[in-house]
């Protein structure tokens, strides 16, 4: 029989232009290919996460995908109560024989974005705009800076955060304003990691004729010609794979950290940004990519407690 599948988004909701949306896309692709449906719910608070996971588990679902670190504690708890139900936790780590935890090495993908930005920048000033100052976002920002400095030690990286509350992910005006301010200071490439607010950044870059870098999904197509590349984080693949494995009976519990090597993160090169990526840039980025995969370059992950080296 077809597996019974569920997906639980966190407070951002499935259209957050970030990992929730990416998860939704992965699940949708699975549905399209297999015609197997899935239940989807949004948990607006940590309390609700527990409630909804338990609710779905009671329905004897086979696999529940929990999107976002906010559900970590809930997954940990509910998985223990329902050993027969399997859980996929995205962006967080929980232990158990029925849990698959998937985290991403955002620092590696961001490193590539940093390399590309440093190469493309004429002013040698690049920018970063994050949603909220939390470890995840700092990981992006630090990886980005590492990549850029690897190209040019003197490059200047300006970082701004949109805000401090949940609203910070939905404030495109502020996202745009931060971009303007960075452009005024000479920045000519900006990396936006701020959900809906980041859309304001991309938009402003287009308006001002500067370059921007998208995040999470491939955003190159939003403003072809001004989006240098996107740092894609394959939450979609993770969800798709988990669903597929469930269907094929190959699903396994465990803790996985997916970087460039595992195909968890990458940079995006397609017809939309083909013209922007010169052969030199492409060569340099692909080189860095290979070095990381081969282990020749180690990108520091600040979440491990290390300070950002740059």
């Amino acid at each position: 029989a077809d597996p019974k599948l569920g997906i639980v988004y966190d407070a951002g909701g499935k259209f957050d232009k970030s990992f929730n949306q990416s998860a939704f896309e992965g699940a949708s692709r699975f549905k399209k290919e297999t015609n197997i449906n899935f239940i989807e719910v949004q948990a607006s608070s940590d309390t609700q996460a527990e409630q909804v996971l338990r609710g779905l588990a009671r329905k004897n679902l086979d696999l529940i995908a929990s999107i976002g670190f906010a559900q970590q504690a809930a997954v940990q708890k509910v998985a223990k109560e329902f050993p027969k139900v399997r859980f996929v936790l995205i962006d967080g780590v929980a232990q158990g024989p029925n849990i698959e935890s998937i985290t991403f090495k955002e620092e590696e993908g961001s490193y590539l974005a940093g390399v590309a930005a440093a190469m493309a920048s004429k002013s040698k000033k690049i920018g970063f705009i994050g949603g909220v100052d939390i470890p995840l976002i700092r990981t992006f920002s630090c990886g980005y800076a590492q990549g850029a400095k690897a190209v040019n030690g003197k490059i200047d990286v300006t970082a701004n955060m949109v805000g401090t509350s949940a609203q910070a992910w939905n404030d495109p005006a502020k996202g745009g304003e931060l971009a303007r301010s960075q452009f005024d200071r000479g920045v000519d490439v900006v990396f936006a990691v701020a959900g809906g607010s980041g859309l304001g950044t991309l938009q402003t870059a287009k308006e001002k004729g500067k370059l921007a870098i998208g995040v999470d999904s491939n955003q190159n197509g939003l403003y072809p010609g001004t989006i240098l590349t996107s740092m894609v984080k394959h939450v979609d693949m993770a969800v798709y794979d988990a669903f597929m494995q469930m269907k094929n009976g190959t699903w396994k519990a465990g803790v996985y950290s997916k970087g460039l090597k595992e195909g968890g993160v990458d940079w995006a090169l397609d017809e939309n940004n083909r013209k922007l990526i010169t052969p030199e840039i492409e060569k340099r980025v692909m080189g860095a990519r290979k070095d990381i995969i081969d282990g020749k370059v180690k990108v520091i992950d600040i979440r491990s407690g290390a300070a950002c080296p740059v």
């Binding site: 608070s45 609700q48 967080g92």
Partner: protein, 360 residues
């Protein structure tokens, strides 16, 4: 004024019911437009929020927090102060509670941990309300403005601090989880029918707080002075009330009450401090205080209503894929609109009907 002519049963029962029905009618229309059946949706909502014991338990869990924030806003309102800052006060109080727990959860027994946690929360909540209160009393800075500012400041400050509390290697911007001893006893220990739900003794604390509030405000000399201050500052001064002290004390109490709301959210449910854990409960407190007329029974009923909407609406969006969770927010707004702002909508009509009867 017309209501004075209406019998009590009409104003206390018929009108609120009509108002609630109006709000539901508008909601039904929206749900219909969204392509779902309004009656089915209502059934799901009611079933999930009150009929089902587990749902009811969640309803009361949310209501417990709302009672505290509603009380916080209400008591300030009694003194004529519009405390918009319950959100920030509850948020900051979460820090006080968490610091207390992180320090003591390994060393103190459970029966001591809970009061210590409550104290930490109340202290920090009060502290966050103190500055606006002090500035209002001594400098005349408008408390509405300062409390709004303090909400923003709390958000920024808490973001800075919570990030520092994240255990290494963790993604989630949250503190470590507390020891089991620091968990509020859950009611399902005694009433297994409630299921695995976070409803805990905070609910009783909230009820006790309501009772104390009711008695203090309407029966005590201090409450008398409090209300006099809110209604007529000149007369209160004449009556010997120290107005600035009163303002500061009321804001401290208000902040402490908002702070106690975090005990339910954190010690009662998540057991760790996380970013944005308040999630608007402070703002809902404003709606509850206004709708409940700062009256203990009114506050209780409004808090339960909002708890029910939070719980029922959540299940509704779960079952009805076409109804996004945000629909509940709209319903909340509509209920406040009809039951709170336009409460007299049907007064004249009812009066007319009654008059006709009398004559006919």
């Amino acid at each position: 004024m017309m209501n004075k002519d209406l019998p009590r049963w009409a104003t206390a029962f018929v009108m609120p019911v009509l108002n609630l029905l109006s709000a539901l009618l508008v909601t039904a229309l929206v749900i219909h437009l969204l392509g779902e059946s309004p009656t089915e949706s209502l059934a799901i909502l009611v079933n999930s929020a009150v009929v089902n014991p587990e749902g009811l338990s969640y309803t009361l869990f949310y209501a417990s927090t709302f009672i505290f924030t509603g009380l916080a806003v209400s008591i300030a309102m009694q003194a004529g102060l519009f405390n918009i800052g319950a959100e920030g006060q509850m948020y900051f109080a979460g820090l006080g509670l968490t610091l207390a727990m992180l320090t003591f959860d390994a060393s103190l027994p459970a029966w001591l941990l809970i009061p210590v946690g409550m104290l930490g929360a109340a202290l920090f909540g009060a502290l966050w309300a103190f500055v606006p209160g002090y500035l209002q009393a001594k400098r005349g800075s408008h408390v509405v403005v300062t409390t709004i500012m303090f909400n923003y400041i709390a958000a920024a400050l808490m973001n800075t601090i919570i990030v520092k509390l994240v255990p290494p290697g963790e993604q989630n911007p949250a503190s470590r989880a507390f020891a089991a001893a620091a968990e509020m006893p859950r009611l399902n220990q005694w009433f297994p029918i409630l299921g695995e739900t976070p409803l805990n003794i905070s609910f009783f604390l909230a009820i006790i707080a309501l009772v104390i509030y009711g008695v203090v405000v309407s029966r005590s000399a201090w409450g008398f002075k409090l209300r006099a201050t809110g209604l007529n500052k000149h007369a209160a001064h004449y009556a010997g009330v120290r107005i600035s002290k009163m303002i500061i004390i009321v804001m401290l109490i208000s902040g402490a009450l908002a702070g106690l709301g975090s005990v339910n959210s954190i010690m009662g449910s998540t057991h760790y401090l996380s970013l944005n854990f308040v999630g608007g409960a402070g703002f809902i407190g404003i709606a509850i205080a206004l709708m409940g007329r700062q009256n203990p029974v009114g506050i209780f009923l409004s808090a339960v209503l909002f708890g029910a909407l939070t719980q029922g609406g959540f299940d509704l969006s779960l079952e009805k894929q076409n109804i996004p969770p945000e629909t509940v927010i709209m319903v909340q707004g509509l209920i406040i609109l009809f039951c709170g702002a336009m409460e007299n909508l049907y007064g004249p009509a009812i009066a007319k009907v009654l008059n006709l009867k009398k004559r006919g």
